[in-house]
Symmetry: C3
Subunit: 155 residues, 3 copies
Amino acid sequence: MVDLTHLMENEVFMAFASYTTIVLSKMMFMSTATAFYRLTRKVFANPEDCATFGKGEIAKKYLRTDDRVERVRRAHLNDLENIVPFLGIGLLYSLSAPDLSTAILHFRLFVGARIYHTIAYLIPLPQPNRALAFFLGYGVTLSMAYRLLRSRLYL
Amino acid sequence: MVDLTHLMENEVFMAFASYTTIVLSKMMFMSTATAFYRLTRKVFANPEDCATFGKGEIAKKYLRTDDRVERVRRAHLNDLENIVPFLGIGLLYSLSAPDLSTAILHFRLFVGARIYHTIAYLIPLPQPNRALAFFLGYGVTLSMAYRLLRSRLYL
Amino acid sequence: MVDLTHLMENEVFMAFASYTTIVLSKMMFMSTATAFYRLTRKVFANPEDCATFGKGEIAKKYLRTDDRVERVRRAHLNDLENIVPFLGIGLLYSLSAPDLSTAILHFRLFVGARIYHTIAYLIPLPQPNRALAFFLGYGVTLSMAYRLLRSRLYL
């Protein structure tokens, strides 16, 4: 069996691993937030959820939508749409031997932007707070994609 | 050209590759299930789909939603929301030289939980079947994230 | 610090990196398309967006849905549902030492199919253009999954 720990001795890769784990854990928190609002506000998407979690004869009336729940779900979907490209492009970028401090700057900006995006979406803060957070994270990912395609294009 | 097969000689990584391929294939099956219900129940989201697959003069009436189709779509989105973190965190965890049997236990529990989640969503089974399957998969991913951040944090 | 550039000297991996970066950048373009239609058509999902981007006293009336925006969002979600499996399965496939020309054929077909899928969805082209593009990309991913499970199964 080959020892793979050397990959984790690469500092850029370790930094990528840490920031990715943090941003993915943040995204997973959105599921809990959705579940929390669904249970406290009694807003369900499935009849079987009403029956168990919305006790009472008229449970079916809890089969509805709610502004708060929909807001969390939109924030969650936006996370997915932006973290998936970061995951793929960031992994390949980390393996393309970038400068350590440049790489860490990219990762920090992205993770910061996504956390701020979530805060701006859930409070909600007035626009353009959320839009700026979105475009910062977007720009960071594009910057890594550009670096990758410029130096390692192979079609 | 460098030979990369040594990465695939690492047993943890091979196990991760196998379980990931299985759980992603399962997720892809959801697309087929959606297509199946859309075609058999004549429920479409786009006018051009009605025109081709819902033959007849009054095809436009098939531009509607359907409980069954929406249920499959919710299960699919839930898969996405949970399998993406598993993909990222699990990959990094696999490269961080974990104990083989612990790693395989994590992968098996996650894949089992997601398959059971799909079954519980599509039949549907009464709650809390689906909720427990969800939280088992969620906990497995968090456990890998915790292991990763504790041993390899680099910010 | 270990030098990881040798991974990027592997031709299959470099090709995977290039095609993945392209297809993820294409997916990110969908966010811009959604934002473009939301702003030009004044169709918002959040009250705070109306207040800032849909100026006027009766901004609240812009809190609505729109066929064009929903179409882009469906195309975006379909991208997510298909590119995530490609990302995971394709990465593992690339590391399993496949034949270079076979691998590049897979990547090219997938990226071509997804770009054509987006065009067919957004114009929109009559069916079965979009359905064929979808199933081509789907088949490519399944073909890589099959290759991976046949040669490297470890459960």
